[in-house]
Protein backbone atom coordinates (compact mmCIF):
# COMPACT_ATOMS: atom_id res chain seq x y z
CA UNK A 1 0.00 0.00 0.00
CA UNK A 2 2.66 2.54 1.07
CA UNK A 3 4.91 1.15 -1.65
CA UNK A 4 2.16 1.67 -4.24
CA UNK A 5 1.51 5.25 -3.12
CA UNK A 6 5.22 6.09 -3.15
CA UNK A 7 5.57 4.69 -6.67
CA UNK A 8 2.57 6.72 -7.91
CA UNK A 9 3.82 9.92 -6.25
CA UNK A 10 7.30 9.46 -7.72
CA UNK A 11 5.92 8.85 -11.20
CA UNK A 12 3.66 11.92 -10.86
CA UNK A 13 6.45 14.20 -9.62
CA UNK A 14 8.97 13.12 -12.26
CA UNK A 15 6.35 13.37 -15.01
CA UNK A 16 5.54 16.93 -13.95
CA UNK A 17 9.26 17.73 -13.80
CA UNK A 18 9.77 16.62 -17.43
CA UNK A 19 6.98 19.01 -18.44
CA UNK A 20 8.16 21.85 -16.19
CA UNK A 21 11.91 21.83 -16.87
CA UNK A 22 11.90 23.76 -20.17
CA UNK A 23 9.88 26.54 -18.52
CA UNK A 24 12.35 26.72 -15.63
CA UNK A 25 15.37 26.75 -17.94
CA UNK A 26 13.97 29.29 -20.39
CA UNK A 27 11.78 31.73 -18.42
CA UNK A 28 9.26 33.85 -20.31
CA UNK A 29 11.02 37.13 -19.50
CA UNK A 30 14.24 36.08 -21.24
CA UNK A 31 14.91 35.49 -24.93
CA UNK A 32 14.99 31.78 -25.87
CA UNK A 33 18.26 30.69 -27.55
CA UNK A 34 17.89 30.00 -31.29
CA UNK A 35 18.94 26.38 -30.96
CA UNK A 36 16.26 25.74 -28.33
CA UNK A 37 13.55 27.17 -30.58
CA UNK A 38 14.85 24.98 -33.40
CA UNK A 39 14.81 21.88 -31.17
CA UNK A 40 11.28 22.75 -30.05
CA UNK A 41 10.20 22.79 -33.69
CA UNK A 42 11.76 19.54 -34.98
CA UNK A 43 11.96 17.23 -31.96
CA UNK A 44 8.24 16.44 -31.55
CA UNK A 45 8.28 14.77 -34.98
CA UNK A 46 11.31 12.62 -34.20
CA UNK A 47 10.02 11.72 -30.74
CA UNK A 48 6.70 10.26 -31.90
CA UNK A 49 8.63 8.04 -34.35
CA UNK A 50 10.81 6.99 -31.44
CA UNK A 51 7.74 6.10 -29.35
CA UNK A 52 6.33 3.88 -32.08
CA UNK A 53 9.57 1.91 -32.18
CA UNK A 54 9.46 1.78 -28.37
CA UNK A 55 6.06 0.07 -28.54
CA UNK A 56 7.50 -2.55 -30.89
CA UNK A 57 10.64 -3.20 -28.87
CA UNK A 58 9.64 -6.72 -27.79
CA UNK A 59 8.63 -8.10 -31.19
CA UNK A 60 10.66 -11.12 -32.27
CA UNK A 61 10.83 -11.13 -36.04
CA UNK A 62 12.58 -14.52 -36.23
CA UNK A 63 9.98 -16.51 -34.26
CA UNK A 64 6.26 -17.18 -34.69
CA UNK A 65 4.18 -15.03 -35.33
CA UNK A 66 7.04 -12.88 -36.71
CA UNK A 67 5.41 -9.57 -35.71
CA UNK A 68 2.64 -10.11 -38.25
CA UNK A 69 -0.23 -9.06 -35.90
CA UNK A 70 1.59 -5.81 -35.04
CA UNK A 71 2.34 -5.03 -38.70
CA UNK A 72 -1.20 -5.82 -39.86
CA UNK A 73 -2.87 -3.77 -37.10
CA UNK A 74 -0.45 -0.85 -37.63
CA UNK A 75 -1.08 -0.81 -41.38
CA UNK A 76 -4.80 -0.83 -40.64
CA UNK A 77 -4.44 2.17 -38.28
CA UNK A 78 -2.43 4.17 -40.84
CA UNK A 79 -4.85 3.47 -43.69
CA UNK A 80 -8.08 4.06 -41.78
CA UNK A 81 -6.68 7.20 -40.17
CA UNK A 82 -5.60 8.65 -43.51
CA UNK A 83 -9.06 7.85 -44.81
CA UNK A 84 -11.36 8.97 -41.94
CA UNK A 85 -9.23 11.03 -39.53
CA UNK A 86 -11.39 9.76 -36.71
CA UNK A 87 -9.60 8.75 -33.50
CA UNK A 88 -12.30 6.29 -32.49
CA UNK A 89 -12.07 4.36 -35.75
CA UNK A 90 -8.28 4.50 -35.84
CA UNK A 91 -7.49 3.66 -32.22
CA UNK A 92 -10.61 1.65 -31.39
CA UNK A 93 -10.65 -0.25 -34.69
CA UNK A 94 -6.92 -0.93 -34.70
CA UNK A 95 -6.96 -2.17 -31.11
CA UNK A 96 -9.96 -4.45 -31.73
CA UNK A 97 -8.28 -5.88 -34.82
CA UNK A 98 -5.06 -6.47 -32.88
CA UNK A 99 -6.94 -8.18 -30.02
CA UNK A 100 -8.71 -10.49 -32.47
CA UNK A 101 -5.41 -11.26 -34.21
CA UNK A 102 -3.51 -12.19 -31.04
CA UNK A 103 -6.42 -13.94 -29.34
CA UNK A 104 -8.01 -15.86 -32.20
CA UNK A 105 -5.87 -15.88 -35.34
CA UNK A 106 -2.18 -16.01 -34.42
CA UNK A 107 -2.43 -18.20 -31.32
Amino acid sequence: MISVILTILTVAAVTFLTRLLPFLLFPANKETPAFVSYAGRVLPYAIIGMLIVYCFKDIRFYAWPFGIPELLASAFVVLIHKWKHNLLFSIGGGTLLYMILVQAVFV
Binding site: T18, A39, I48
Partner: protein, 226 residues
Protein backbone atom coordinates in the same frame (compact mmCIF):
# COMPACT_ATOMS: atom_id res chain seq x y z
CA UNK B 1 -16.11 35.51 -21.48
CA UNK B 2 -15.12 32.20 -19.89
CA UNK B 3 -18.26 30.52 -21.19
CA UNK B 4 -17.36 31.59 -24.72
CA UNK B 5 -13.89 30.05 -24.40
CA UNK B 6 -15.47 26.78 -23.21
CA UNK B 7 -17.86 26.72 -26.18
CA UNK B 8 -15.00 27.32 -28.60
CA UNK B 9 -12.74 24.68 -27.03
CA UNK B 10 -15.22 21.83 -26.58
CA UNK B 11 -15.75 20.79 -30.26
CA UNK B 12 -11.99 20.70 -30.82
CA UNK B 13 -11.54 18.19 -28.01
CA UNK B 14 -14.07 15.66 -29.34
CA UNK B 15 -11.49 13.53 -31.21
CA UNK B 16 -9.44 13.35 -28.01
CA UNK B 17 -12.63 12.50 -26.10
CA UNK B 18 -13.03 9.37 -28.21
CA UNK B 19 -9.35 8.46 -28.18
CA UNK B 20 -8.93 9.02 -24.44
CA UNK B 21 -12.11 7.20 -23.59
CA UNK B 22 -10.84 4.12 -25.36
CA UNK B 23 -7.28 4.45 -24.10
CA UNK B 24 -8.49 5.27 -20.58
CA UNK B 25 -10.72 2.19 -20.65
CA UNK B 26 -7.73 0.08 -21.71
CA UNK B 27 -5.75 1.54 -18.80
CA UNK B 28 -8.60 0.95 -16.32
CA UNK B 29 -9.06 -2.65 -17.46
CA UNK B 30 -5.34 -3.43 -17.14
CA UNK B 31 -5.16 -1.75 -13.74
CA UNK B 32 -8.10 -3.73 -12.40
CA UNK B 33 -6.63 -6.95 -13.82
CA UNK B 34 -3.71 -6.35 -11.41
CA UNK B 35 -6.20 -6.03 -8.56
CA UNK B 36 -6.39 -2.23 -8.14
CA UNK B 37 -9.87 -0.80 -7.63
CA UNK B 38 -11.40 2.34 -9.09
CA UNK B 39 -10.00 4.72 -6.43
CA UNK B 40 -6.50 3.94 -7.69
CA UNK B 41 -7.53 4.58 -11.28
CA UNK B 42 -8.85 8.04 -10.33
CA UNK B 43 -5.84 8.85 -8.13
CA UNK B 44 -3.37 7.94 -10.89
CA UNK B 45 -5.24 9.67 -13.70
CA UNK B 46 -5.67 12.86 -11.65
CA UNK B 47 -2.12 13.29 -10.39
CA UNK B 48 0.04 11.52 -13.03
CA UNK B 49 -2.02 12.20 -16.16
CA UNK B 50 0.36 10.69 -18.71
CA UNK B 51 -1.07 7.98 -20.97
CA UNK B 52 1.91 5.82 -21.79
CA UNK B 53 3.54 6.30 -18.39
CA UNK B 54 0.43 5.08 -16.57
CA UNK B 55 0.53 1.86 -18.59
CA UNK B 56 4.17 1.41 -17.63
CA UNK B 57 3.38 2.35 -14.02
CA UNK B 58 0.94 -0.56 -13.68
CA UNK B 59 3.90 -2.91 -13.96
CA UNK B 60 5.88 -0.84 -11.42
CA UNK B 61 2.98 -1.00 -8.93
CA UNK B 62 3.23 -4.77 -8.80
CA UNK B 63 6.88 -4.50 -7.64
CA UNK B 64 8.23 -3.14 -4.32
CA UNK B 65 8.93 0.63 -4.40
CA UNK B 66 12.31 1.41 -5.90
CA UNK B 67 12.93 5.15 -6.12
CA UNK B 68 15.86 5.05 -8.53
CA UNK B 69 14.37 2.66 -11.08
CA UNK B 70 10.98 4.46 -10.92
CA UNK B 71 12.77 7.77 -11.49
CA UNK B 72 14.82 6.46 -14.43
CA UNK B 73 11.94 4.67 -16.14
CA UNK B 74 9.69 7.74 -15.79
CA UNK B 75 12.45 9.98 -17.16
CA UNK B 76 12.97 7.63 -20.10
CA UNK B 77 9.31 7.28 -20.99
CA UNK B 78 8.51 10.97 -20.47
CA UNK B 79 11.70 12.61 -21.72
CA UNK B 80 9.83 13.64 -24.85
CA UNK B 81 7.83 16.08 -22.69
CA UNK B 82 10.97 18.21 -22.48
CA UNK B 83 10.55 18.88 -26.15
CA UNK B 84 6.84 19.64 -25.81
CA UNK B 85 7.64 22.22 -23.16
CA UNK B 86 10.22 23.76 -25.46
CA UNK B 87 7.57 24.09 -28.16
CA UNK B 88 5.06 25.72 -25.79
CA UNK B 89 7.35 28.33 -24.19
CA UNK B 90 5.77 31.01 -26.32
CA UNK B 91 2.14 29.86 -26.28
CA UNK B 92 1.91 29.72 -22.48
CA UNK B 93 3.55 33.11 -21.99
CA UNK B 94 0.28 34.89 -21.18
CA UNK B 95 -1.44 32.10 -19.26
CA UNK B 96 -0.95 33.79 -15.88
CA UNK B 97 -2.36 31.81 -12.95
CA UNK B 98 -3.39 29.00 -15.30
CA UNK B 99 0.19 28.40 -16.42
CA UNK B 100 1.12 25.74 -13.80
CA UNK B 101 -1.89 23.65 -14.78
CA UNK B 102 -1.15 24.14 -18.50
CA UNK B 103 2.36 22.79 -17.93
CA UNK B 104 1.14 19.92 -15.73
CA UNK B 105 -1.43 18.80 -18.31
CA UNK B 106 0.84 18.89 -21.38
CA UNK B 107 0.17 15.37 -22.71
CA UNK B 108 0.84 14.15 -26.28
CA UNK B 109 -2.77 14.83 -27.29
CA UNK B 110 -3.17 18.19 -25.56
CA UNK B 111 0.15 19.21 -27.08
CA UNK B 112 -0.96 18.22 -30.58
CA UNK B 113 -4.27 20.11 -30.19
CA UNK B 114 -2.53 23.20 -28.83
CA UNK B 115 -0.06 23.18 -31.72
CA UNK B 116 -2.78 23.92 -34.22
CA UNK B 117 -5.60 25.47 -32.14
CA UNK B 118 -6.28 29.20 -32.30
CA UNK B 119 -9.12 30.88 -30.42
CA UNK B 120 -11.82 32.62 -32.51
CA UNK B 121 -11.99 36.44 -32.37
CA UNK B 122 -13.09 37.84 -29.03
CA UNK B 123 -12.33 34.64 -27.13
CA UNK B 124 -9.76 34.69 -24.32
CA UNK B 125 -6.71 32.72 -25.45
CA UNK B 126 -5.65 31.53 -22.03
CA UNK B 127 -9.10 30.24 -21.10
CA UNK B 128 -9.50 28.64 -24.52
CA UNK B 129 -6.20 26.73 -24.05
CA UNK B 130 -7.16 25.91 -20.45
CA UNK B 131 -10.48 24.33 -21.42
CA UNK B 132 -8.80 22.19 -24.09
CA UNK B 133 -6.41 20.93 -21.40
CA UNK B 134 -8.94 20.41 -18.63
CA UNK B 135 -11.54 18.71 -20.84
CA UNK B 136 -8.90 16.26 -22.07
CA UNK B 137 -7.88 15.58 -18.47
CA UNK B 138 -11.51 14.89 -17.57
CA UNK B 139 -11.97 12.46 -20.50
CA UNK B 140 -8.85 10.60 -19.46
CA UNK B 141 -10.08 10.18 -15.86
CA UNK B 142 -13.54 9.15 -17.09
CA UNK B 143 -12.10 6.45 -19.39
CA UNK B 144 -10.01 5.02 -16.57
CA UNK B 145 -13.01 4.86 -14.25
CA UNK B 146 -15.23 3.16 -16.84
CA UNK B 147 -12.52 0.66 -17.78
CA UNK B 148 -11.71 -0.14 -14.18
CA UNK B 149 -15.34 -0.57 -13.14
CA UNK B 150 -16.31 -2.56 -16.25
CA UNK B 151 -13.17 -4.68 -15.97
CA UNK B 152 -14.30 -5.69 -12.50
CA UNK B 153 -17.87 -6.44 -13.61
CA UNK B 154 -17.35 -8.29 -16.88
CA UNK B 155 -14.34 -10.59 -16.91
CA UNK B 156 -13.00 -10.74 -20.48
CA UNK B 157 -9.77 -11.52 -22.25
CA UNK B 158 -7.93 -8.19 -22.41
CA UNK B 159 -4.87 -9.61 -24.18
CA UNK B 160 -3.70 -7.09 -26.78
CA UNK B 161 -5.70 -4.12 -25.43
CA UNK B 162 -2.44 -2.25 -24.76
CA UNK B 163 -2.16 -1.85 -28.54
CA UNK B 164 -4.39 1.23 -28.01
CA UNK B 165 -1.23 3.06 -26.95
CA UNK B 166 0.66 2.03 -30.09
CA UNK B 167 -2.32 2.99 -32.25
CA UNK B 168 -2.42 6.42 -30.60
CA UNK B 169 1.22 7.12 -31.44
CA UNK B 170 0.72 5.93 -35.02
CA UNK B 171 -2.27 8.28 -35.32
CA UNK B 172 -0.25 11.24 -34.01
CA UNK B 173 2.58 10.28 -36.36
CA UNK B 174 0.23 10.30 -39.36
CA UNK B 175 -1.26 13.65 -38.30
CA UNK B 176 2.16 15.21 -37.87
CA UNK B 177 3.31 13.79 -41.19
CA UNK B 178 0.36 15.39 -42.96
CA UNK B 179 0.90 18.75 -41.26
CA UNK B 180 4.59 19.08 -42.06
CA UNK B 181 6.66 19.54 -45.20
CA UNK B 182 9.93 18.32 -43.73
CA UNK B 183 9.63 14.59 -43.01
CA UNK B 184 13.28 14.06 -42.16
CA UNK B 185 12.89 14.43 -38.34
CA UNK B 186 10.04 11.89 -38.33
CA UNK B 187 12.00 9.41 -40.47
CA UNK B 188 15.11 9.88 -38.32
CA UNK B 189 13.01 9.22 -35.21
CA UNK B 190 12.00 5.79 -36.52
CA UNK B 191 15.25 4.76 -38.20
CA UNK B 192 17.64 5.87 -35.46
CA UNK B 193 15.55 4.36 -32.67
CA UNK B 194 15.21 1.06 -34.55
CA UNK B 195 18.98 0.98 -35.13
CA UNK B 196 19.61 1.73 -31.44
CA UNK B 197 17.21 -1.05 -30.42
CA UNK B 198 19.25 -3.53 -32.49
CA UNK B 199 22.59 -2.22 -31.23
CA UNK B 200 21.90 -1.52 -27.55
CA UNK B 201 19.09 -3.92 -26.52
CA UNK B 202 15.82 -3.15 -24.76
CA UNK B 203 17.04 -1.35 -21.63
CA UNK B 204 19.38 1.28 -23.09
CA UNK B 205 18.11 2.05 -26.55
CA UNK B 206 15.83 4.98 -25.60
CA UNK B 207 18.49 7.20 -23.96
CA UNK B 208 20.89 6.20 -26.75
CA UNK B 209 18.32 7.13 -29.39
CA UNK B 210 17.62 10.49 -27.72
CA UNK B 211 21.29 11.42 -27.80
CA UNK B 212 21.70 10.27 -31.41
CA UNK B 213 18.56 12.20 -32.44
CA UNK B 214 19.69 15.37 -30.72
CA UNK B 215 23.08 15.02 -32.40
CA UNK B 216 21.76 14.31 -35.91
CA UNK B 217 19.18 17.11 -35.73
CA UNK B 218 21.91 19.51 -34.63
CA UNK B 219 24.00 18.47 -37.64
CA UNK B 220 20.96 18.99 -39.86
CA UNK B 221 20.52 22.53 -38.57
CA UNK B 222 24.19 23.31 -39.21
CA UNK B 223 23.77 22.13 -42.78
CA UNK B 224 20.62 24.20 -43.23
CA UNK B 225 22.17 27.40 -41.95
CA UNK B 226 25.55 26.82 -43.63
Amino acid sequence: MIKKAFRAAFPLTLPVFMGYLFLGIAFGVLLSSEGFHVGWAIFMSVIIYAGSMQFVAIELLTLPFNFLSTLLITLMVNARHLFYGLSMLDKFKDSGKLKPYMIFSLTDETFSLLCSANPPDGVSKKWFFFFIAVLNHFYWILGGVIGNAAGNLIPFNSKGIDFAMTALFIVIFVDQWENSNNHLPAVLGIVITAACRLLFGTSWFIPAAMLCLLFSLTMLRRRESA
